[in-house]
């Protein structure tokens, strides 16, 4: 059974990782605890569901969801985050919570509160080795998460736009003086963060073959946030490893301790962890200029 719990844990963890990457990227650059992350990408996933229901091609549906997430965050950034950008850390966090509620209610209004089957043709074949079962989709999800992590890091380090983003993360006024179009770059970071979230969310829904309102906050924002804290907030590598640790902890606690009190044990572990390593396993590598 140990091996199966291990595989279950890695599977759950990779799904969390995918969502945590977009979340942690935004934090690393803009230092905003984006509590709207989950609910924004949830809207994107529902758009994909609607496009599939309207008999669109899978690729079109996924791109549609990505575009929806991207656009929503551009608008949200313009009207909810930009006006409070310089008013301290707490204010943007609160406007993010507000956006989360608005998005959740949009989903309620358009799609309703129910759980829908989510079958978009991404096949999840289950392979049996002895007594152990694992899905092929689980492997793809983990690979996609790692690939995205590497890709984003490369883009940040190797491209001009990436350098602009890094400059902004160090100091917005200085970046502006250097001629970097701050507003445009920040908007793009939010847009991409949401787009990545949508991709993660779609794989998440494909993995559980179902979609519902709660994929946003309960399973998205909260798990991404916990993964980021464990892994080191602002670090992409940390997000992936933190998510895997979270998944494994959940799986082993359910397997060997209790399914009824799983969350209590997981949160207990989380609190102890934060006391020992408050900055996470891999504190953000983006260096502050002194």
């Amino acid at each position: 059974m140990f091996l199966q719990y291990l595989i279950n844990g890695i599977s759950i963890g990779s799904v969390y990782a995918l969502i945590a990457i977009g979340y942690n990227m935004v934090y690393g650059i803009l230092e905003l605890l984006n509590f709207a992350h989950g609910d924004v990408y949830a809207v994107g996933c529902f758009v994909t569901l609607a496009l599939i229901a309207a008999k669109q091609n899978v690729v079109v549906a996924i791109l549609g969801g990505f575009a929806a997430g991207f656009l929503i965050n551009l608008i949200v950034e313009r009207f909810a985050y930009r006006p409070v950008r310089y008013s301290g850390r707490v204010t943007p966090t609160i406007s993010a919570v507000g956006i989360a509620y608005i998005m959740r209610n949009v989903i309620l209004l358009v799609w309703g509160p129910e759980t829908f089957a989510f079958e978009i043709g991404i096949k999840n074949t289950h392979v049996k080795v002895g007594n152990i079962v694992f899905g092929t989709l689980q492997i793809y999800i983990l690979l996609i998460a790692i690939a995205l992590m590497v890709l984003i890091q490369l883009l940040l380090k190797r491209t001009k736009q990436g350098q602009a983003v890094l400059a902004i993360s160090q100091s917005i006024p200085t970046a502006a003086l250097m001629g970097i179009p701050v507003n445009r770059v920040i908007a793009a970071v939010y847009g991409l963060g949401a787009g990545l979230g949508v991709l993660g969310g779609i794989l998440f829904c494909a993995y559980y073959e179902s979609i519902f309102l709660g994929i946003g906050f309960m399973l998205g924002t909260m798990k991404a946030w916990m993964s980021s804290i464990v892994g080191g907030i602002g670090s992409l590598k940390g997000a992936v490893i933190g998510a895997l640790i979270l998944g494994l902890t959940e799986s082993f606690v359910s397997g060997y301790i209790s399914t009824a009190y799983r969350d209590a044990f997981v949160w207990g572990f989380f609190i102890v962890f934060v006391l020992i390593k408050p900055r996470g396993l891999f504190p953000a590598q983006i260096s502050e200029k002194v």
Binding site: L108, P113, A117
Partner: protein, 377 residues
Amino acid sequence: MKRVQVIIVLTVAFAFLICGPAITFGQNIKFAVVSPMTGDSAAQGIQIKNGATLAVDEINAKGIKGKKLEFIVGDDMANPNQATIVAQKFAADKTLLFVLGHNNSGCSISALPIYQKAGLPLISPTNTNPTITDMGYKNYFRVIANDDLIVEQQVLLAVKELGLKKPVVIWENTDYGKGMRDVALRKLQQLNIPLLGNESFVPGVDRDYSAQVTKFKGTGCDVVFFMGEYTAGALFAKQGKNLGLTAQIVAGSGCSNPKLIEIAGTAAEGFYALTTFDPNDKRPVQAAFIKKYTGLYKDAPGEWSSHAYDIVYLVKKAYEAGGTDRPSLIQKLHEVKAFQGVTGTIEFDARGDVPGKKVMVLVVKNGTFNTIVPTKY
């Protein structure tokens, strides 16, 4: 002096204004429908509302003693905390004759003290936790068989009819799920069958059942007693199949919803669910109700809509017998004898239970629920 008089007049006028609804008796008989209208079990709340609406529309075509029925809707989100908030709102509304709801046992349990204080009758279409009627509330009624009966049949179906004797149980962590688990454990003990696994989940939150499935697989069980609602049931069936769990799933009444098949797809094949309303009933009254409901709402009626439908007609009968205010309605409901509804015979015992109700068995075959009649118990 004059100013004092003006103040008194204004105060009295204002008092009339706020007490208005309480002292003027309108032409309509008002009640409240409360259930989860949002969240994981919203499909049930919507069914309850639809069932009540259908009955109200039918009755209003003729009226009751020259009056019409109307209702307001409350959303308890299947959450006991939210249930008390809604209950307080209803309790403060003096125009309400009774409350139809809640869908979830836990919600009724937390809201009942509030209704009792207001003397407001609470008639639940779907509360099955056996302990509710042990609490001694005189204003509480339910028109559905409780879990003592349902779960007993669930265990008998697996053990006697299907010959499965290596059971495990998975229950949602609520009053409903715990109540069902307790009855199952008691019944299995009586039958001298050891339980091989006992796991739970949080409804509306948990989407991953791989840990439970893995544990069950390790026990070598041949039957899973599923104590929860259809969304979780569907996902459990799906993930169980994916992870190679071969045990038969036998669920209680929360899973007899066609949505289960929609969500689980082919993984629902062979899923057993008990029900107190047979969606394939061919008897004329039931068949007519099913046809009318399906035509109106483009959705087959289930336990939720059928029991809500029966409650409205039951109250009509009690109202016509003189139950025109809250205390007399409670009394007249107790006096109703052998009321024939679409869900069977309703007659309350002193506790507000319906001991005469029957339980039926459904099994998913070729993508729909089929009714089967057990022969071995």
